[in-house]
């Protein structure tokens, strides 16, 4: 572990939630900034440049874009600051929106303090954090069945190994359990997950957005 605590910012419009997160994380991380709406979030992030930002998906202010808008307006910080989306929403639309906007991970708010801490550490090291549900979304969006040959672009398909990793994460396995299950190192698991994240962010697949939108209308 790093010697100094990781500097983080909590961007969420609920004071109670910010206080709760701060209380459960304080010993391990250093909260250096907080904000409750899009505009003040952008300002405070540029002023403080924390290592990791916990970002709520739904927030007031700005152009109404919420977390995705903060991400878009903080593109210049991408080299130093990493974003972890944190939301109560399970809606595929929201999840896909923030991930596509550049978040390194997505966890739901009922995550335990310990798990959240672990996730922050992981994001700080440049890895991706996938909750079981996000992994499920990925499998759903990229097609859990072996992709048809029409999509030849490497970005549009998950490799067999990546699918396996995603499937295990969706089944509730931790990275360590995935590694044990597949006889690979945790580092390799992280590599796979990061690769999936990259595909999720960069894939030009139209289906992804359409799928996310359709999920909402089911």
């Amino acid at each position: 572990m790093t010697q100094e605590p990781i500097t983080i910012a909590i961007i969420d419009d609920h004071d109670m939630f910010r206080a709760g997160v701060r209380a459960s994380l304080e010993p391990w991380v250093q909260v250096i900034a907080e904000a409750g709406d899009v505009d003040s979030a952008v300002a405070v992030l540029h002023a403080t440049t924390p290592a990791v930002v916990l970002l709520d998906v739904h927030m007031p202010g700005g152009a109404g874009g919420g977390g995705a808008e903060v991400l878009a307006r903080c593109q210049d910080l991408a080299a130093t600051t990493r974003f972890l989306a944190l939301s109560v929403s399970d809606a595929a639309e929201d999840v896909v929106a923030v991930i596509r906007a550049g978040a390194r991970g997505y966890v739901t708010k009922n995550i335990s303090g310990e798990q959240l801490c672990d996730a922050i550490r992981r994001v700080d090291l440049g890895d991706a954090v996938f909750s079981p549900r996000l992994a499920g979304f990925v499998l759903d969006a990229f097609g859990s069945q072996s992709a048809p040959a029409t999509h030849d672009d490497e970005l549009d398909r998950l490799s067999a190994r990546e699918q396996e990793v995603m499937r295990l994460i969706a089944r509730g396995y931790t990275y360590r359990e995935v590694a044990a299950e597949l006889f690979i190192s945790i580092k390799t698991v992280e590599t796979h997950v990061s690769a999936v994240l990259r595909k999720l962010q960069l894939s030009s697949r139209h289906e992804l957005t359409r799928w996310a939108a359709a999920r909402r209308l089911l």
């Binding site: 969706a170 089944r171 299950e181 209308l217």
Partner: protein, 471 residues
Amino acid sequence: MCHDHCVSLFLPNVDTAERLPLRRPSVGRRLGGVCQGLALHLRVPVRTVRMVMLLAALTFGLGLVAYLFLWLTIPAGDPVALANELDVDARLVAQPNAVPPPQDGEVGGTASWWERIPLRDIATGVILVTVTVMLIADRLGAHLQWTWVFAGLIVLVGLFMAWGQLDSSRRGSLLEQAGGRTPVGVIRIAGGIALVIVGALLVLGQDREPSLMWQSLLASVVVLLGVAIVLAPWWLRTLNALGEERAAREIAKQRADIAAHLHDSVLQTLALIQRSVDQPGEVTRLARNQERELRAWLYNDRSSPGTSLASEARAVVANVENTMIDSLGTSQAISIDLVVVGDARPDENSEALLSAMNEALKNAVRHGRPPVSAYLEVRADVIEVFVTDRGDGFDVSMLGAVGPDRFGVRESIIGRVQRRGGSVEFRKMAIGGTEVKLSMPRQGHPVRSSVSPDGAQSLAPDSGPLGRKVL
């Protein structure tokens, strides 16, 4: 009803709160329901109103004009229902000294022999007789101004066509359907206007020469156009205001919907949660159920029953969470994380699979340790379910010698799935905990590998990662 409030502003002593709104009820009406409506509104006996109207009608037809005017301007509707809707004091309806609503009083009364006289038919008859008398009088040599009569008739018919729209009781529904512009309405307006113009021309142009007629027609059209151009902005603004008001009302209605929903579900649950603070399990159960319900409501994640395997799986998880709380006591919080990938239409196979999943989840909750997670994936030819817990592990070797005590697992999980051609695997996870894998071929996709009848092979412990400790 606005009228009522306005009146109460100026006449504070008048008790307007108890007045029924001015509407023409459809029940108990004799002609157009005007007297009935007036009587209910003014809280006077209907008979009095009718007598007054009749007397007024006999004095130079004053009552007739008033009646027609009121008929056209008072919208049809049930004043009592409207009053309830508007939340005007509902006790009024039940008050004995108030005018009884028509349903109770007038209709079905024994003393209403004259109520049954078909006034409408009589009115029609009177008109026909009058016309006949006039025709006969004309034949007999009386000199009638036929042109005037015809022109007047045409104008009257036109007016009725145009104004009669107001009377249509289906007006509201029609307006809603077509945004105020129904073909029938347009035809009525256009026909009415045409008839009135023709009638007016007939009246005015009786003895004049055609060229003068044309000139005056042109002039009047030009004047009308000018007025229309001047009034157009005002009219448009009114239309816009109307649209805005409608939108605002729609939003208000939605908001009321949300408020009602929150009140019915969320606030109730919060109250329940506060009452059961000493029972963490119960609190969790309430919160989880509320969360599920609210999510389904917010994200429209509802599907009609029998169409979505995913939502049935969610229902199974909810059911396990709810029932296990009862059997395990309320001190323990139970929450099962479910992830579903893909979806399918449920059939008998998936039904059996979900029942087995139900049992596996109960087992995991009872014998395992949280977090318990379930994963359901619908693949091209097979549906797979994984139920994972972090308990000390279920001794897989025990299954080989399944005793009668293990009948639950054997029958409810293994038997159910195998009878439908699926397979069950119990594994001890490398890291601790047990995982049950249920797979079931989808209907129309027969299993490729044959399943042995006794199921021994699929029951045999997976020789792969099992038992091998990976650190």
